[in-house]
């Protein structure tokens, strides 16, 4: 039997992986909608727990929105690799003659597209509930869109490290939430600066820098973590 030459085809593999992830998520729409409902629910809790006074809510709205969105992203991460791990397709992914960091990046990109991006789109609506001052809605959406991409990448490292564990959910939060802090600071900071009428460009630039760093480093860490988890 003749030897097979590796034919490359990374683009084919990436496109197919993105399509597969999208198809899977669209067949289980609950997984897309649940984080959004969670986001809305948590935001509803704050006025009930603190005060319905618009001024007090407006003062803390940027932080509340950001923290709630961050937790919603976090919640959806445990499932990122778990299904693939349980049915054995993760093993096959690792044996593809393709660079693994690129393949996991495709998976994370779809995760962001279906959780981070909808959360960013929905946040201004919830901002209304919290009397978020006018003029900061755009910055809120942009900062969340940029920031949640970093969150997906960092969180995927934690998801990859805990995917082999039977009950990794709480541990995953313990590992990942401390690493989210810079994103939270710059993201919520950007919205706050927008409310105060300051220049938001440096804040968004910092969020972008974090994203660039995460894009460069996280795929390798995720790949290494998956290889470890698969042999646990």
């Amino acid at each position: 039997m003749r030897l097979v030459e590796p034919r490359g085809g990374l683009v084919v593999a990436l496109v197919a992986t993105v399509r597969r992830e999208l198809t899977l998520s669209l067949r289980r729409r609950g997984e897309i909608i649940n984080p959004l409902v969670f986001f809305a629910l948590v935001i509803t809790l704050f006025p009930l727990g603190i005060s319905p006074d618009p001024e007090r809510l407006a003062a803390i709205a940027p932080g509340l929105l950001w923290v709630a969105a961050l937790l919603a992203t976090q919640l959806s991460l445990d499932a990122l690799f778990r299904g693939d791990h349980d049915d054995g397709s993760l093993e096959q992914l690792l044996l593809a003659p393709q660079p693994l960091p690129a393949l996991v990046l495709a998976k994370v990109a779809v995760h962001w597209l279906l959780t981070g991006a909808p959360l960013a789109l929905m946040a201004p609506l919830l901002g209304l509930f919290l009397s978020l001052p006018a003029g900061s809605y755009g910055v809120l959406a942009i900062s969340l869109a940029l920031g949640s991409a970093s969150l997906s990448l960092i969180g995927a490292i934690g998801a990859a490290l805990t995917v082999g564990l039977a009950r990794g959910g709480v541990l995953l939060s313990l590992l990942v939430l401390p690493l989210y802090i810079p994103v939270l600071i710059f993201g919520a900071g950007a919205v706050q600066v927008a409310i105060l009428g300051g220049d938001v460009a440096p804040w968004l630039a910092l969020l972008g820098a974090l994203l660039a760093l995460a894009l460069m480093l996280a795929p390798w860490a995720i790949a290494a973590a998956l290889r470890i988890s698969l042999n646990g």
């Binding site: 564990l165 990794g168 541990l171 590992l175 401390p178 690493l179 600071i185 706050q192 974090l210 646990g232």
Partner: protein, 245 residues
């Protein structure tokens, strides 16, 4: 050359060398810590603004520095373990983690005690203290992840990856927390960033710091030797040592 390095990092060699080194390390640690404490508490001058309460710095600063050094050591050990599969490196990382977490806690606790006379409250969101708190969470995460795996090898490798991710993040976290801090509350007092300290104040601090390092080194050697015995308990040389051979 390589076989020499491998021999050097073999648990058995470390056990032997460590055994000879250990007494000297303990003597150094106790001498330095004793001298430093007496000097710092009795002879160093009081601070002109804060009086005697500033003396807690002689514990707080070394603990904080140790806490960071330990994380760095864990990261280096983790990298060595992942790349060269040297088991000794993982043993070092495993015994360093609880010590580093303890030092982080000591730094946090001493910082918050110091807050009572200075700020009149047990906790303020000071940039340093906040970073320390986050670092404590990182330590707890590494320890918890290591413990969560059924297989020790996998736990060790997962903890190494997480430590490396953490070590990349620590400077980013520190920087972002400082930025956040200046935005929300302009720095007033901080425990550590003070204008040029006179020599009679920082010399005892240096002695204390060296004492902490020596203490850590002694403890590290002792606990790594224990870990070696525990993990290699099935090996013949350990059995011979225990008199079973």
């Amino acid at each position: 050359m390589w076989s020499f390095v491998h021999k050097l990092v073999s648990p058995r060699t470390f056990y032997a060398i460590g055994g000879r080194l250990q007494p000297a390390l303990w003597v150094a640690a106790l001498t330095l810590l004793g001298t430093g404490s007496v000097w710092a508490l009795l002879f160093a001058p009081a601070d002109y603004q804060q009086g005697d309460s500033f003396r807690i710095l002689y514990v707080h600063v070394p603990a904080a520095i140790l806490a960071q050094s330990c994380f760095l050591l864990m990261a280096v050990a983790g990298l060595v373990f992942l790349v060269w599969k040297i088991k000794l490196a993982d043993m070092v990382a495993a015994v360093t983690a609880p010590f580093g977490a303890t030092m982080t806690f000591v730094a946090l606790f001493s910082g918050s005690v110091w807050g009572v006379p200075t700020w009149g409250t047990w906790w303020v969101w000071d940039a340093r203290l906040t970073s320390m708190l986050i670092q404590l969470f990182l330590y707890v995460g590494v320890i918890a992840l290591r413990g969560a795996f059924a297989s020790r090898d996998s736990g060790a490798r997962a903890a190494s990856v997480l430590t490396l991710v953490g070590v990349v993040n620590i400077p980013i976290i520190k920087y972002s927390v400082e930025w956040w801090n200046t935005l929300h509350q302009p720095a007033t007092f901080t425990l550590t960033e003070r204008p040029a300290m006179p020599a009679e104040m920082w010399l005892p601090l240096a002695v204390m710091l060296l004492g902490f390092y020596a203490f850590f080194a002694a403890l590290l050697v002792m606990r790594t030797r224990n870990e070696i015995l525990r993990r290699e308990s099935a090996k013949r040389w350990v059995r011979e040592l225990a008199g079973e051979g």
